[in-house]
């Protein structure tokens, strides 16, 4: 090949995963070069890591990492089936059977080959290996003529091969020389558990077995005879007893070779001959061969950098692995065998659930050295980040592997240093992701495309998403927060617009700031904003179509289409007369009654047309709506407090009632719950509420943003020993600030977790008025309080509004599909099977 003098001739021997990565990076580097690729295989590079997917249906084209058209477009001179036979270093020539090629720079990316132990009989037809697509085709063919299969080697690859044989329907055995499976990555305890799990899946494991000879079998094709005299019969044998570097080209050319093989390289991936590089599994760096793809990719990048005259050293690589073998999760990190002097271990072994976890820390318990996980690798990402970034351990390191005790310190993406590697396949650090976002990437997809993160083994997907989400969050990126297809605004922006432009209807808002007809997402959200800002009667005709059915009918819809009725019982205090009224109403309308978790009484099973009558009775007796249906203040729970309790230090009931009356009717992004306890014993569970108040000798301690529910959160102590007026003032400000700034359906707990600056910031806004908005927040709260009305009372006073509470516009009949049966002396909805057939719904047919 001729070339003009300024352009270097690069010849790459081997087009495996690493060789291809080198080519791709060299092209992308812009370095002018004539590239020749000599591939020993009949095809260009493919994904060896996911080779096993062949057995679940992947074909060569699914596994391909590139195609010939791409190589042509890149201007690469590639030759398939071109096995290089020798290197002439003085003339700078490599030779295949057909031809010689000149190089200025030679890159050896010849990978490795499966090691087949020199056992007599191991060269028979159904004795195979597992490395290339051709190997897979041979395995498939052999399996089709076999009933029993043996994998020799119980390492990572061996177990993957065993899985493949099992999937092919063979009775499968694994024969391992060592005493346990995956001896490189796992300790004994983990190895034992893994064995149990794999045997439970029907694969028989034989450890400490050295095969001596493979002879003809009696039941099966072959018989493997072991050193201890025992034997095993099988129709086919798959060797997976380790790999050996393909280093013979280097060896013959006189390059430095390691004692146990491998072409010696320096930090730039150069061999003894500066014109020759070696990368991937054929290369030996500081006496190590890396049998994983990620380190090979790093070497490829280092070699490209060196050729382009840039500084980028290969500095070793992490060999941690996480994988799923036959559905069994296995993870191994760092010094899994605790070989570091002084290393100490924490072990958690849950036999019934088949989970084993070991954490290895240094002598001072200050950092993670390694870890082993079997049966549950959910802690893998966190432990790996601790290990790779030398992050300081928590006081009690064992919490990192113990089952969630509530104490497990969550490793937020925020806690990771900028240098933390997120994707090791493509060497993407957290800082690269940050850069990509700053450079304009606006979605996870774009970031993946631009950094290639997560496009290798896929092991980093969850972590990448975490980091990306947290970075977007930090920038206040609104992409994901836009309400819906009808509004290109966040809830916070709409709130602002409604207020500033004094908008009082959905139609006006969508006309000015949105498009289309709205939907079940934006309508209730805007309905809630209008209510928060103006506190107009939620059932003003223009507001009706905005509400969820619960708000429209002022009750919670139950599974059968009936509604529940929850009168307000402030602070949980109720008179006997009140109890009697509720009892009478329930009896009269045959409603199911239950004490709720919110210290009040819920009446279930009211038909829509019954609601006005039922509420008429309740309202006449002095009850108000409890807003159980609304994103609004729900309950203020209380304990009995100093009035009766021998420990109480303040009147918690009185305080709870006062607060409930003050904030009832306040509509918010989500529901709001309070509780007031009379002393630190905390019988009202105030620390699990959005607003929690605990009495002290000197006043009230205020807790904020607690939550029960799906993801419990303890409230944060906001201020201590407050007088009642200050307490109320702070609550006014906190709640209005929440109403103004939270996302749709965001509880205070989530709002706080996402509030930049967190508790300290909220304190500075509310206590120190750093934003100068406190008088506005208070005025707004006062306006809402002044505009309070019992929605049921107002509804009952309007014949027009009452008219809507009917099942049918044209008939007084009942919905016959609503049926009840008796249970424990009360009603409950009938199941579909229990419903009387003649009343069950009948399809279109007119009488």
């Amino acid at each position: 090949m001729t070339a003009d003098n300024s352009v270097i001739r690069v010849v790459v021997v081997g087009n495996g995963m690493v060789g291809h990565h080198f080519v791709e990076n060299l092209i992308n580097s812009g370095q002018p070069a004539h590239i020749t690729v000599l591939s020993g295989e009949p095809r260009l590079a493919y994904d060896r890591v996911h080779l096993s997917s062949w057995f679940t249906g992947s074909r060569a084209e699914d596994l391909a990492l590139t195609d010939e058209a791409t190589y042509q477009q890149w201007g690469i001179n590639y030759v398939l089936n071109a096995k290089v036979e020798g290197i002439d270093r003085t003339q700078k020539l490599v030779t295949t059977q057909q031809q010689s090629y000149h190089y200025d720079v030679l890159v050896l990316a010849t990978g490795s080959y499966p090691f087949v132990p020199p056992i007599p009989g191991s060269d028979q037809p159904h004795c195979l290996v597992y490395r290339t697509i051709e190997d897979l085709q041979a395995i498939e063919e052999s399996a089709a003529q076999s009933k029993v299969g043996v994998v020799v080697g119980g390492g990572l690859l061996g177990l993957e091969a065993a899985n493949a044989l099992k999937q092919a329907g063979l009775k499968t055995h694994v024969v391992e020389f060592a005493a346990q499976l995956m001896a490189v990555q796992l300790d004994e305890g983990a190895g034992t558990l893994l064995r149990e799990k794999i045997e439970a899946l029907g694969v028989t494991v034989h450890t400490q077995k050295a095969t001596q000879v493979i002879e003809q079998g009696q039941e099966c094709r072959y018989r493997m005879v072991f050193a201890d005299g025992s034997f095993l019969e099988t129709d086919m044998i798959l060797f997976s007893a380790g790999i050996r570097p393909s280093d013979h080209l280097g060896r013959e050319a006189g390059l430095g070779i390691g004692e146990r093989g491998g072409i010696v390289i320096n930090n730039k991936c150069q061999t003894d001959d500066p014109a020759i590089y070696a990368i991937g599994e054929c290369a030996l760096w500081e006496n190590r061969i890396y049998g994983l793809v990620a380190p090979g990719y790093t070497m490829a990048r280092a070699a490209v950098a060196s050729i382009a005259g840039e500084e980028l050293d290969f500095a070793g690589a992490d060999m941690s692995t996480k994988l799923k073998l036959m559905g069994v999760e296995v993870g191994s990190i760092g010094d899994a065998h605790a070989r570091t002097p002084g290393a100490q271990c924490y072990t958690y072994h849950n036999q019934p659930q088949g989970v084993y976890k070991k954490l290895i820390v240094d002598a001072n318990h200050s950092k993670v050295l390694g870890a082993v996980l079997v049966g549950d690798t959910s802690d893998y990402d966190t432990l790996l980040q601790y290990c790779l970034n030398d992050m300081a351990l928590p006081q009690t390191p064992e919490t990192l592997i113990l089952p969630a005790s509530g104490e497990k310190p969550a490793l937020g993406a925020d806690a990771l240093p900028a240098t933390a590697t997120i994707c090791s396949c493509h060497n993407v650090a957290k800082s690269d992701i940050v850069e990509a976002i700053d450079g304009g990437c606006a979605s996870l997809g774009e970031i993946k495309a631009c950094t290639k993160a997560s496009s290798g083994c896929g092991g980093c997907t969850a972590l990448l998403k975490n980091v990306v989400d947290s970075e977007f969050e930090k920038r206040g990126v609104a992409v994901s927060k836009v309400l819906c297809e009808h509004f290109n605004h966040t809830r916070q922006e709409l709130f602002h617009l409604v207020k500033i432009e004094k908008i009082r209807s959905f139609d006006a808002l969508i006309e000015r700031h949105g498009s289309g007809m709205g939907c079940d997402i934006c309508k209730p959200a805007v309905g809630s904003i209008l209510a928060s800002v103006w506190n107009d009667y939620v059932l003003n005709p223009s507001n009706v179509p905005l509400q969820d059915t619960n708000d429209t009918y002022l009750g919670n819809m139950q599974k059968d289409g009936t509604y529940s009725i929850v009168p307000r019982i402030p602070g949980g205090e109720i008179t006997p007369a009140g109890l009697i009224v509720i009892g009478e109403v329930a009896q009269k309308y045959n409603l199911y009654t239950k004490i709720t978790g919110g210290q009040r009484i819920d009446l279930f099973g009211a038909r829509v047309e019954q609601l006005p009558d039922i509420w008429q009775t309740l309202v006449s007796a002095g009850f108000e709506t409890g807003h159980a249906y609304a994103k609004a203040l729900r309950t203020v729970k209380s304990c009995v407090g100093s009035t009766w309790c021998r420990y109480g230090v303040q009147d918690s009931v009185g305080q709870a009632i006062a607060l409930e009356h003050r904030y009832k009717g306040l509509r918010a992004p989500h529901k709001i719950k309070f509780a007031v306890s009379g002393c630190t014993r905390e019988c009202a569970e105030a620390q699990s509420k959005d607003i929690g108040i605990i009495a002290t000798e000197n006043g009230w301690n205020l807790y904020v943003c607690g939550n029960g529910g799906m993801k419990p959160r303890h409230g944060d102590l906001f201020a201590t020993d407050l007088s009642t007026p200050t307490l109320v003032q702070y609550i006014d400000r906190i709640l209005m600030f929440y109403v103004k700034t939270a996302d749709r359906l965001q509880r205070t707990s989530v709002w706080m977790d996402n509030l930049e600056g967190g508790l300290a910031y909220l304190q500075s806004v509310v206590i120190d008025d750093v934003l100068g908005i406190n008088s506005e927040l208070e005025a707004q709260m006062q306006q809402v309080i002044d505009a309070y009305q019992c929605e049921w009372k107002t509804t009952l006073a309007s014949p027009e509004a009452k008219k809507r509470f009917r099942q049918f516009v044209n008939s007084k009949q009942e919905d016959t599909n609503i049926q009840f049966v008796d249970e424990r002396g009360q009603i409950r909805p009938a199941t579909e099977l229990e419903k009387t057939p003649e009343h069950a719904r009948i399809p279109v047919e007119l009488v």
């Binding site: 009808h486 289309g516 007809m517 009706v544 599909n817 279109v844 007119l846």
Partner: protein, 117 residues
């Protein structure tokens, strides 16, 4: 059945136009059939839709109490129970191809709402 197939649809008077609720639903009973009637008022036009009131997912007669809206410009109603969206014109469920609500012809005539069966 055959005789019926040859008949022209029969129109039934349901209620007065004033009984409708703008951008929301009401329900009519015709024999055993519950029909949800939705009134879409948008950009000065009024369009009525009629669909079966039975929610096949929640298995309750509640469709008329759903929120109306649009998905990609197509008018829909969201079931109040589990929030599936149904196209008001065709009855097709947007989340599940296999589900659709029967639809009915509906019209306004001389201040009366009428449905054909």
């Amino acid at each position: 059945m055959q005789a019926k197939a040859q008949q022209l649809p029969i129109w039934y008077d349901i209620c007065d136009e004033q009984d409708l609720i703008s951008n929301s639903g009401v329900c009519a009973l015709l024999g055993q059939q519950q029909v949800a009637i939705f009134t879409l008022d948008w950009q000065g036009h009024r369009q009525l839709y009629a669909l079966s009131n039975y929610d096949p997912v929640g298995k309750a007669n509640v469709i008329y109490r759903g929120i109306m809206g649009s998905v990609n410009g197509q008018p829909v109603v969201a079931s109040p129970l589990y929030k599936e969206h149904y196209c008001l014109a065709s009855g097709q469920c947007l989340e599940n191809d296999a589900l659709s609500l029967p639809t009915f012809e509906v019209e306004l005539k001389a201040g009366k709402v009428r449905i054909a069966l």
